[in-house]
Symmetry: C2
Subunit: 351 residues, 2 copies
């Protein structure tokens, strides 16, 4: 059976209406409010056919129709109309990003907060993959007790740190020296390149062999996100949506968001090529729970990955609003970081 234009139109009406009202849509309301040139009986026939095609379901015979996950996917692909943000919302974004941004961690939190506030959904964010980040600076700080703190600063000011073991006999001076040597060695290298540091380098710096190998191990572990890299904002926003009057849905939701690992999997495993990614219900490949949708955007500016941001909420999500917000925040972010990059270039020129 083919999807006639009228079928598409009706499907769009059903999805729009259901997203707005959370009430199953009846043939009568469609015929009266949106398709005044045909009768409800005609709509009824079309609805029955859309149901057969898998786009609609009903809870019970006299309950009106509700879109299936398949319908939402179709809606996003073909039916959805691009929205615009209100002036209020645009202002809000501008103001949020006008302050001195500070480091990336603050930026991530800020972006996540803005997205949650504007969409009224729970926002999840994860910082950029650190694989390709270039090491800008590296230091070893003595902590006593045979331990040292390894601190790394990378290009986009991502900071990672961890404790490593050092020989107890090593003095503060020696550590400081080692720190300098190792820093010089890795400066400008990407984290992913560290893996390829061979034994010959270790030999070359035989004096610091043990420390060096500890450092390399630590650097290697930096490729996967830490708990702290996953930011969750506005968990209580779910109560703004009627599906979470049902305790089972809340249970499900809270269980998912209470594990940062799971969150990272849900929003982190996408292709970097895709700008906006929508996962609706259980898609087989994803870990998204049956009754949830996740919409994420991966931002980048000046060739630099800036992390993945998105919302998690009920399948009946206001996709238009969410996607519009994500796009606008993306633009603002690009501008912000873009300007910063430009400033920097100017600085270089002046030197």
């Amino acid at each position: 059976m083919k999807m006639s234009d009228r079928k598409k139109k009706i499907l769009q009406i059903v999805v729009d209406e259901y997203i707005n009202t959370a009430v199953p849509v009846s043939s009568k309301s469609i015929a009266e409010k949106h398709l005044t040139d045909v009768s409800s009986a005609t709509v009824r026939n079309e609805l029955a056919s859309l149901e057969e095609l898998g786009y609609l379901t009903q809870f019970h015979t006299s309950g009106g129709r509700v879109p299936s996950p398949q319908a939402y996917r179709f809606y996003i692909e073909e039916l959805m109309e691009k929205g615009n943000l209100s002036d209020n919302d645009l202002d809000y974004i501008e103001r949020a990003f006008s302050e001195k941004s500070g480091d990336v961690e603050h930026l991530i939190k800020n972006v996540s907060r803005v997205i949650s506030e504007l969409t009224d959904y729970t926002s999840v964010a994860i910082g950029p993959h650190t694989d390709e980040e270039k090491i800008r600076n590296l230091a070893l700080l003595a902590c006593g007790d045979g331990k040292a703190l390894l601190v790394i600063v990378t290009g986009s000011r991502i900071l990672r740190d961890s404790f490593i073991d050092i020989p107890e006999s090593m003095s503060d001076e020696e550590l400081s020296n080692a720190s300098h040597v190792i820093s010089k060695l890795f400066e400008g290298k990407a984290l992913s390149e560290v893996k390829e540091v061979g034994a010959e380098v270790l030999d070359e710096f035989s004096q610091y062999r043990q420390v060096m190998s500890e450092v390399i191990d630590a650097l290697k572990s930096y490729t996967r996100p830490r708990d702290e890299d996953v930011v969750l904002t506005g968990a209580d926003k779910i109560f703004k949506h009627p599906e979470y009057e049902d305790i089972d849905n809340v249970k499900n939701f809270l269980t998912v968001i209470s594990s940062k690992d799971r969150l990272a999997e849900i929003i982190g495993d996408e292709d970097d090529e895709i700008q906006i990614n929508v996962k609706i219900g259980s898609t087989g490949d994803a870990e998204v729970p049956d009754d949830c949708s996740v919409v994420t955007a991966t931002y980048s500016a000046g060739g630099k990955n800036l992390g993945t941001y998105g919302v998690i909420g009920p399948i009946r999500m206001d996709y238009t609003k969410v996607i519009t917000v994500l796009e606008n925040v993306g633009k603002a972010l690009e501008e912000l970081v873009g300007n910063k990059l430009k400033d920097k270039k100017d600085d270089t020129k002046h030197e």
Copy 2:
């Protein structure tokens, strides 16, 4: 009216029974199961009198009695019997703390996880107050762009970091020098002492005046906890308890735990002298929601504050179990950190 021994006994039975079953307790069940030498009518009289004293309430006339917050407080003060952990639980604690502990952040997470697992409640933890921590090491790392990363390592390996502005003209060498000078200056000082660094010191190091003052500002901000210092574990554990079949309770709970600031206030504002602290329902002074209890313990070892740990859950909480777990975890922690301190002393001796 005085509290006779029998009243106390009956109150204890009611609280114990209600904690275990979550079902209002009837005079009949008390007389049959626990006080076989008197009739249910007698118990009924006592219950009525306990209700008049404010210890018991009933949802409706034929619903049995339920302890009031006042009853729980009295129970904890006077009636509760100390419990013992099962061998399983003790094993669990031992295993959890046997691994190489790494830094304090990991330790906090670990402790929080153990507490949540053993009690089946949501655990909240907050790291030690950093005020009195002595600065062990301090470094400034260039990030380019007129920014530098300030990293602090303190005595118990608490790590703090933040970005500060530096003069654009400052070279890496100069920064490195400044870093050394400032590090030497503050080494061994407590964070709280930094506040008292006067202008004369700034003048003395006039060369690094701007950087120094930025560093001091940053250090001053370290006294209040960051979001990352508040650890929440096992939020989904609440669904193990029947009070959270009620959506309103869940709403309340989720709203509280979704703000780290509020959590920090709830568990962080207690007197350091008190080892175990119980807040039941709204006590006026506390921000604990009406229908929640918070039990916390502040740990320390070798004179060192190790942070505050606890659980948040329904008022009908298994206080015996929770307090027993907190005490045992405290002991294990003390042993762990105590041994570490001892090792360190031994090392010093060998030198």
